[in-house]
């Protein structure tokens, strides 16, 4: 990968870390073209890749290079000129590494858009200047908001096709703001652009003189990185228990390491912890990575925790801090007690996106996976289904593909959860259909 600005010093930390974003919006609004253009203008496309898509564009009878071919990498996508599944692309500006997810616009592939959105920290929602806010624009905006993407950028694209007319931009902006207000979306910015011509992506271009806001790349460069906004409570779901079977090594004889990633907050040697759901207490004896000791661990780090006491812990358990303010044992239903509570529960209320081809079957048991824990689950009621156009809550008997609904599940085993709005890592779950093993639902705990 060639660098946009020269990489300051090789191997030196990229100080603004990493930003994950996605492009979404309705069919043909120019999402893939936008990413292609962004990569092109940041010089992240290598000569041979460019040459290959030039050849393909020519063969397909196009006059100019079709930059959407950069992400539409599947045969079926190229044949039809549409995006079917998410493509991931990478570039770096010298200060930041970007992971881009290009989501499909077609309603049929909504589940792939949700896949892309679930890990993003910023969403670029494209709107075709000629068409304005469409149903699919609303659906994707709602989904982006629902999965908790904190920063939305509405890009009014194809401004070249409306003569770069400011009134068109202002009208769409007004329309969108009205919709955003209903949803309670707070952080939303607007930018006019032409992905095809590259206006306002990296260069300002000559056609949008009336717009004095930042370019798209400036918005990306200054967006806060995810970790700076996450929950401060310590959450450590145990992934794997390490018990080296080396009887001859006295140092390892009693070694029991609890492996996992710090999903939020931080922890230091000596801190008091509680293991959930068992509620056993201990203290951190050591924190290691690859056998080497650290004094503390922070959010997003994968580490191994060693405890002072020998207590029974296995995959699926969650280690949290012992402080009263981070834990409130005895509380039983989510959302009913303090907001600073990790909760052990056998019932969850959630917003659910159904992704499966066949509808949710209220008579069947599904598996819910949340953090590193699995529980068998049974639907315990549908509060409502959301009508994406009107944003009205409508009564629903069942839930089919691409539906968004508020539901409750009864669980055979307890889960340790936070509200999704407070913690994306511990408030999210997937629904698995055991007959196919497929992932059929995405849930966010309320």
């Amino acid at each position: 990968m060639s660098a946009f600005e020269h990489i300051p010093e090789f191997g030196s930390p990229v100080d603004s870390g990493l930003l994950r974003f996605l492009t979404c919006g309705s069919v043909d609004d120019g999402k893939s073209t936008l990413i292609g253009r962004l990569l092109y203008d940041t010089k992240a496309i290598l000569a041979d890749t460019l040459h290959a898509i030039e050849k393909t564009s020519l063969r397909r009878g196009m006059e100019a290079v079709d930059l959407s071919l950069l992400t539409d990498g599947l045969q079926a996508e190229r044949e039809q000129g549409i995006t079917i599944d998410v493509a991931y692309r990478y570039f770096s500006t010298g200060t930041r590494k970007y992971i881009i997810a290009d989501a499909p616009g077609h309603e049929q592939y909504t589940r792939n858009m949700v896949t892309a959105a679930s890990t993003a920290n910023l969403a670029i929602i494209l709107i075709d200047a000629r068409k304005g806010v469409l149903t699919q624009t609303r659906r994707h905006s709602y989904l982006a908001h629902l999965v908790g993407i904190p920063h939305l950028v509405v890009a009014v694209n194809k401004m070249d096709l409306v003569g770069y007319d400011r009134t068109v931009f202002e009208r769409i902006r007004g329309e969108y703001l009205e919709f955003a207000r209903q949803l309670g979306i707070e952080d939303v910015r607007f930018i006019p652009l032409s992905a095809l011509n590259g206006d306002m992506l990296v260069d300002r271009g000559d056609n949008l003189g009336w717009y004095d806001g930042p370019t798209l790349i400036d918005i990306l460069e200054s967006a806060p990185a995810a970790h700076s906004e996450s929950d401060e409570r310590f959450r450590f779901p145990v992934q794997y228990v390490c018990r080296p079977q080396k009887a001859d090594d006295p140092l390892l004889h009693d070694y029991r390491g609890f492996m996992g990633r710090v999903e939020s907050g931080e922890i230091a040697v000596g801190d008091e912890v509680v293991v959930l759901p068992s509620e056993r207490r201990s203290r951190i004896k050591d924190i290691q990575v690859g056998g080497r000791s650290l004094s503390r661990a922070v959010a997003e780090q994968s580490v191994t925790l060693l405890l002072e006491d020998e207590i029974d812990i296995s995959r699926g358990d969650m280690i949290v801090r012992g402080d009263a303010k981070e834990l409130c044992p005895g509380a039983s239903a989510p959302g009913t007690v303090s907001t600073r509570t990790a909760l052990v529960t056998r019932r969850i209320d959630a917003m659910l996106c159904w992704l499966g081809d066949s509808p949710l079957d209220a008579r069947r048991k599904y598996v819910i996976r949340q953090t590193t824990r699995d529980a068998r689950a049974l639907l315990d009621g549908i509060a409502y289904r959301l009508d994406i156009n009107s944003l009205q809550q409508v009564p629903a008997e069942g839930i089919g593909m691409n539906d968004i609904a508020r539901v409750a599940f009864k669980l055979a085993q307890p889960l340790v959860v936070d509200r999704y709005a407070e913690n994306r890592a511990t408030g999210a779950f997937i629904v698995i259909d055991e007959s196919t093993n497929n992932t059929v639902g995405a849930g966010m705990i309320l």
Partner: protein
């Protein structure tokens, strides 16, 4: 309780991008270990799988790896790479399983169209046979999404059917970091811990961790023949033909694979540091500069993956 942090220390130090990528990869490796009953890690002696091994050390030491290493050997590998593979496995004291395309040929499950045909794509057959022989329910590989446009579409936990096939139009939704490795018997998961790494990230990590690599990754003199914009190495398997103009050039490999389909690039980068500098400013992609097999058709990789390839 430990002492409070000094006032100057940032409350929440950001992980730099390599720290973040490393932590993600460790998390993925542990998910495979936690969810799968019989995984294997594909180790070829190439740079991406060398990085995988370091990540596995960080994930599981002081314990042993909860999986064996598996190499599908085409029989057409550079000896330096095979030596490195064996030495590394030995040094780590981990179990290495080698299965060869040549055995599949002897069994008759791999049939070449011509004797000098590349065996690269036939690895899929041998891999599936190894999966069947050992009953592996997951294989961990070092593929990266920035390598190729079909790879850019693949999930981190990629479901493969009984035939090892990938169905790109119908992939499992993959939400948050809630990876779903459930399979029925005979089916398989391919897990890619360094999906989100670029070639540059890999080299920067190699430098940071001080990882050793087979010598052919660094500039050395080698007889080559120019084939279009690629350099074909002159070896016993790929001898010069009549009329070929053999040149002795200073080259290095950006990727090592089957001798018959991997080309070196002209370079005088003889240290990791110099390779990083070259990688940061190169204008040709890793596969574009080096793969004789992907040039065949626009969808070569997608096709191979549908047939069970990594």
């Amino acid at each position: 309780m430990n002492a409070p942090a000094p006032a100057t220390a940032p409350v929440r130090p950001a992980l730099d991008h390599l720290d973040w990528l490393e932590a993600e990869a460790i998390y993925i490796l542990r998910e495979v270990a936690g969810q799968c009953s019989n995984p294997a890690l594909l180790f070829s002696g190439g740079k991406d799988s060398i990085v995988l091994l370091r990540l596995a050390e960080k994930a599981f030491r002081p314990g042993r790896f909860p999986f064996p290493l598996l190499h599908i050997d085409t029989g057409h590998n550079y000896p330096e790479v095979i030596d490195f593979r064996d030495a590394r496995a030995c040094e780590l004291n981990e179990r290495l399983i080698v299965r060869s395309v040549e055995s599949s040929m002897a069994r008759g499950t791999v049939r070449l169209n011509s004797a000098d045909e590349s065996r690269n794509k036939h690895q899929s057959v041998t891999l599936l046979e190894a999966i069947g022989e050992f009953g592996f329910d997951a294989c961990i590989g070092g593929a990266r999404r920035d390598e190729e446009k079909a790879r850019a579409k693949e999930r981190i936990f990629s479901f493969r059917d009984e035939f090892g096939g990938w169905d790109p139009k119908n992939q499992r939704p993959e939400l948050w970091d809630l990876f779903n490795a459930r399979v029925h018997k005979g089916e398989n998961i391919r897990a890619f811990p360094i999906s989100n790494w670029t070639e540059l990230d890999v080299w920067q990590y190699i430098e940071r961790e001080g990882l050793a690599l087979p010598p052919i990754y660094f500039a050395h003199l080698r007889p080559v023949v120019r084939k279009g914009n690629l350099l074909q190495p002159v070896t016993e398997l790929t001898p010069a033909r009549d009329g070929d103009n053999v040149e002795l050039m200073q080259v290095r490999f950006r990727t090592v694979g089957d001798i018959t389909c991997t080309a070196p690039v002209e370079s005088d980068a003889d240290t990791v540091h110099k390779v990083i500098a070259e990688t940061a400013t190169t204008t040709i992609s890793e596969r574009g500069a080096t793969r004789l097999d992907d040039q065949a058709s626009e969808a070569a990789m997608e096709q191979r993956k549908k047939e069970g390839y990594f």
